[in-house]
């Protein structure tokens, strides 16, 4: 039995974690056969934690986020949010999806403003917050462009801006920086950490970049390939506030990176090299 305790600072309520996977399984019914994507997973994320998730491609990371968001129902077990099972779209989370799900008929500005619009934020305040956010993700001047007119990386940034702009309680982010150049990536990592430190939102952050996971996270969960299980659950004990620009030179960084790499490696080894 590998039940591990994770020391996390559940600031507000301590009776239950904010997000909890209670022996969750996901079985997809395929065209010809069905198969198990997630197998009896049990993970909990306490309030305010910055939790990074890494794992091989196709192991079920996006599936997990979809469950927390209530867009997907687990085949077995329960996903609990703030103590109650998730049923239907969970409006308390903000979700930066892997695919940029922008509304193609809305300009960038109106895409980013959408959640504010839905929450009844006034026009003037909306415009202000949207512009500020566009500036943050480096898209000032593209407010009137339509998604079709943006590059892949720019679209992804709009998705990010759209989620950050309304400061949700929980941010689910599925490779938000995957399509960005390393410089911009670092800048945005820095911004995200600052926002997180200010708002103390709970973050579940999927990435393929182990360095990114170590630099940003309070904790990194390493998943195995399908049927997916947790192979390592590591608390990142690099103290905060961290500077994402220099954290890589922290002595613990290399060790943690190494440890994660080791945990992940057997999962993929041999695959494709055969």
């Amino acid at each position: 039995m590998n039940v591990m305790a994770v020391g996390a600072d559940s600031e507000r309520r301590t009776d239950h974690p904010l997000i909890e996977f209670d022996h969750v399984g996901m079985i997809y019914q395929g065209a010809r056969q069905s198969f198990v994507a997630v197998d009896d997973l049990a993970v909990a994320v306490p309030r305010g934690q910055f939790c990074c998730v890494v794992g091989p491609s196709g192991c079920g990371k996006s599936t997990l986020l979809n469950m927390v968001a209530g867009l997907l129902e687990p085949s077995r077990g329960t996903v609990r949010y703030d103590g109650a099972p998730v049923q239907g779209p969970n409006t308390r989370v903000g979700y930066v999806t892997q695919k940029d799900n922008l509304l193609p008929w809305r300009s960038v500005r109106r895409n980013v403003g959408l959640p504010l619009e839905l929450r009844g934020v006034g026009k003037r305040e909306r415009a202000e917050r949207v512009d500020q956010m566009l500036d943050l993700v480096g898209l000032a001047g593209f407010g009137d462009a339509y998604p079709r007119e943006l590059s892949g990386g720019m679209r992804k940034r709009v998705t990010l801006a759209r989620t950050l702009v309304y400061e949700p309680e929980v941010i689910l982010a599925d490779e938000p920086f995957g399509a960005l150049d390393s410089q911009l990536r670092t800048v945005l990592q820095d911004q995200l950490v600052r926002i997180w430190e200010r708002t103390r939102a709970t973050v579940v952050f999927i990435t393929h970049d182990l360095g990114e996971a170590v630099a940003l996270g309070d904790r990194v969960v390493v998943m195995s390939s399908r049927p997916s299980r947790v192979v390592l659950d590591r608390t990142i004990d690099i103290p905060r506030p961290r500077d994402v620009f220099s954290v890589r030179f922290d002595p613990r960084f290399a060790a943690l990176h190494e440890e994660l790499w080791a945990a992940l490696s057997p999962e993929i080894e041999g695959r494709g090299r055969a």
């Binding site: 590998n2 039940v3 591990m4 009896d40 049990a42 993970v43 947790v230």
Partner: protein, 279 residues
């Protein structure tokens, strides 16, 4: 404090069982759903028929609306003396031919104009013009050109289908993702390949919507041309009944039409289902 647990070893064998159980539950749920749907439909039909039967002769003059029992009796008579079969076959023949020809033409022209912008720009007004002609008013010309028999009916029916399928195919062809087309071109796809391997499958939903629209209209087209000019068919039966104030007969013919339309629609849905398995 939060607790994280990996899979319990004891449950390593779960997936296979889980699959079984899951599949069974799913099948059960979907069967239950279908039963509810069908029950609701049956109840709705029963309510309408009950009201009709009860109201006919009490609050409504049966001269205008007949009654379900009389209609059933009439259907039985027609079934017995062969009237039903002969006329249904006549209408269905016209309809099937018209539907096939019209839809085919609609798909072909739709794709052509949908992908060749110049043609579309030039011809659109003409298409609209022809489509806005009231075919009923052109009946004399139709008769003059195509006669009264099968040919006339088929022309009328295919004209009706053509436009419905054409508009939707056209929109579907236009809606095809240009990026996808570009990428497939790079792989060496010619005009024909692009059409067959990209444009047609990607327009499938559109085409099927057009076809589904066309089913009732093709039936209506065939029947209308039988109503105006014919010597057989469900439309003929309908008109004869109407002209002799035989309301039960009129409704009986209509019932047959509706049944035919439903059956054909189910066929179209099944075809669409087979083709859109990827959705």
């Amino acid at each position: 404090m939060s607790v994280i647990a990996g899979p319990m070893e004891a449950e390593a064998a779960m997936p296979a069982e889980a699959l079984e159980a899951d599949g069974r539950e799913r099948r059960l749920r979907s069967r239950r759903y279908r039963i509810v749907v069908i029950t609701t439909r049956v109840l709705l039909v029963a309510a309408v028929l009950g009201f009709w039967q009860a109201g006919s002769g009490t609050i409504i003059n049966p001269f205008w609306v007949s009654s379900p029992s009389r209609i059933v009796a009439r259907l039985a008579t027609w079934l017995g003396d062969g009237t039903l079969w002969a006329n249904t076959v006549a209408t269905l023949t016209a309809m099937a031919l018209g539907f096939t020809l019209g839809s085919l033409a609609g798909v072909v022209v739709g794709f052509t104009l949908g992908r060749v912008r110049f043609l579309a720009d030039v011809l659109t007004p003409f298409v609209i013009a022809v489509n806005s002609l009231p075919k009923l008013a052109l009946a004399p010309l139709f008769i003059l050109w195509f006669g009264i028999g099968l040919q006339g009916k088929v022309v009328m029916t295919s004209l009706v289908c053509f436009f419905l399928v054409f508009y939707n195919t056209f929109a579907g062809a236009r809606d095809t993702d240009d990026e996808l087309l570009g990428v497939v071109s790079l792989m060496g796809a010619g005009r024909r390949d692009r059409l067959i391997k990209v444009i047609i499958p990607s327009s499938a939903t559109w085409i099927f919507t057009g076809l589904r629209l066309a089913v009732p209209y093709s039936l209506v087209g065939a029947v209308v041309s039988e109503i105006t000019a014919s010597s057989e068919g469900l439309g003929h039966l309908l008109k004869t009944s109407a002209n002799t104030f035989d309301t039960a007969g009129s409704f009986a013919a209509i019932v047959v039409l509706v049944v035919v339309a439903l059956v054909i629609n189910i066929a179209v849905s099944k075809a669409e289902g087979l083709i859109s398995r990827w959705k």
